[in-house]
Amino acid sequence: MSTDNNVSRRDFLKTTGIAAGTLVGGGLIGGLVGYNMNGKGTSTLDHGNGTTNEATGAPKAKMFFMNDRDFRVLSNATERIFPEDDLGPGAIGLDVPYFIDHQLAGQYGSNSKEYMHGPFAEGSPTQGYQSRLTRAEIFKQGVQKIEAEAQSRFKKGFSDLEGKQMDEILTAFQKGEVQMSGVTSAFFFALLRAATLEGAYADPMYGGNRNMDGWRMKGFPGHQMAFITQIEDPKFQKIEPNPLGNH
């Protein structure tokens, strides 16, 4: 498996007509509300999703990030990782940035279940996470480093860059080429990538996976009581997803 993005994926960008520039800015986040994967118009309540009012979604407010610039950087970075395409919404349309923001404000962000006592030493990669920083501290620094990297490379804010410029920066983070303090940029990127997928596919009660469209794209039916009557069936079962909130 390759570890970086190559030319072929940029070609894919072109051929699918996803213009990276359209992903700019916080305003667009709201603009993607109600996006429907089948392109058949506005989503409705007929999925039986009891979690939120789909016309408005979960209230969009920030628990962790303090300014819009940082949050937009996070949002655009997650969208590059998990973009909108003909299958359905990307990270922004799925409210992944809000999911990450909320997680960073809680136990996940404060590493409350991790061993965080010193002494801290770098160690070997086989020994894993040895940073003195919490995830919240890593994200905060990482997002600001992304912005600083955009300024230094392109003399623009990250959120004003073309898609391929964003990818260049994210790839540099992924490869550990950007200097961060107390953690490597590769580790931050791995965390960001993982959190993006978590936000796309976690139960909607966490604030991401808006309208269960992450599950719907993937063919995962969410919370189902039993498959005992279907497990032997040779046919693939298309099942409308169900959230835990309907339990």
Binding site: R9, F12, G219
Partner: protein, 570 residues
Amino acid sequence: MVTTLPSVDVVTVGVGWTGGIVAAECSKAGLKVVGLERGQKRGTEDYLNVHDEYRYAIRYDLMQNLSKETVSFRNNSKMRALPMRQLGSFLLGEGLGGSGTHWNGMSYRFLPYDFQIKTLTDERYGPNKLGPDYLLQDWALTYDELEPYFDKFEKTAGISGDEKNPFAGKRSNPFPTPPMKMTPMLEQFEKAAKNLKLSPYMVPSANVSEVYKNPDGETINACQYCGFCERFGCEYGAKSSAEITVVPTALKTGNFDLRFNSNVVEILKQGNKVTGVKYVDTISGEEFIQPANVVVLTSYVFNNAKLLMLSNIGQKYDPATGKGTLGRNYCYQILPGAAGFFDEQYNTFMGAGSLGMTVDDYNGDNFDHSELDFIHGGNIALTQTGTRPIGSNPTPPDTPTWGPEFKKQSIHYYTRSFGIGAQGASMPHKDNYLSLDTVYKDAYGLPLMQLTYNFTDQDRALHKFISARAADIMKEMGAKTIVPSAEITDYNIVPYQTTHNTGGTVMSSTPENGVVNNYLQHWDVENLFAVSAGNFPHNSGYNPTGTLGALAYRCAEGIINYSKSGGSLV
């Protein structure tokens, strides 16, 4: 101030499968038992909202809180050991039921070969097959001696299975319940395996195939194939675990006092016997001494070894001299396999933790190793455990790890790919061991358990060979793209591999070769027992819980016998 409590017959340190089995058997026999569980009370009613991948499978809600205690790790003794700050390679349990709450439920019996591995390997291949760095030894009992205890565990847990494995040890009884349901994926595996002249059989399962009442009168419900087993508790009470079987059995006797939030920090010893344990109430912070006639260590591999080391009981292993047995023979498992990508779509999200088919043709000594530079092998299985969307993002080789192509491929192949995987046996090596860390401490000021471990040449050779066999089956199944697992180099504690840690407190036929005898009674201290997968002198090519359950029943019998007559049981 430490409060000393009234003395009891037996105290168990930890209440999962082993502590529960010991508690049930001893309390039924009329002994007064106290169970000290450092985690919380939990049971089926607490698992009603368990279909939450993020909370349980990704953030590990049922597992050990590492902020209180973890292990430290290094690949070899020249490296500085550093704490495992996040869960990764293995998932330590915490709370009633221990890791037996969030297991998949695969319940095998180790092979007759395993119990006499040294003797049988030497007989067939000569005494130098692996060389002197590998600390191979026979177990302290044979398969036939352990068979009645296997039978007992399987009846307690209601294990579902067939009797089609030609390599299995002799059984005194059939499986208590019929095998799980056959699925299209499994049928395809079965056909391919048969075409290759292999002998497929259904994975023995503690996800019980039909409602079952065990000999103690506990009911286990029928599995609903919801696909949430490993890392989850079962909301149906359909996955056998201590909290729905042996724990209620013990409680019904009136002889079992189960205490939660009770973390044992020391085994108390006077002369040649132990007198009880000291524990901390993790809520109030109060310290207690629980005196007991018999102390039984029934926690996980690491904690059993740690308590013995902290309490200075037994001689710690020194890799420089080879002396000492406590901490020696730490083993793990290696995971050869092959991923397959298909055009057809499968219901991969449905399943059960132990729903699968497997072959033992390349396990144990079921095939000739004369021309191979390793011994043993692994069971090779296709399991349909239920894949979930955060954890399962399969992509064919050369797909980027993020961006549009990643999204497209990972969504496409979520329901069009699966793996055939083996659990590769792990042989003890002189450089792999457990000891006390000299720097890092737990929440009670005690040293962390330190793990010094790396893969061996035996592991690397086995991995390569078995991965190729898994790929053969995948090819026969008709996969469009087949990706055998990459060859292994150094052990890495970050990615999840398996919670099948073994060794450190091994059983042996003589005091020189292990920590406990074949009743899991400590060689040096007759009223101290220690039962866990730490007793395994090596790790086999199977999940360990079936064999561990059998050892726990053996241990319970030993405790009951000891309580009558005293002295060494062997």
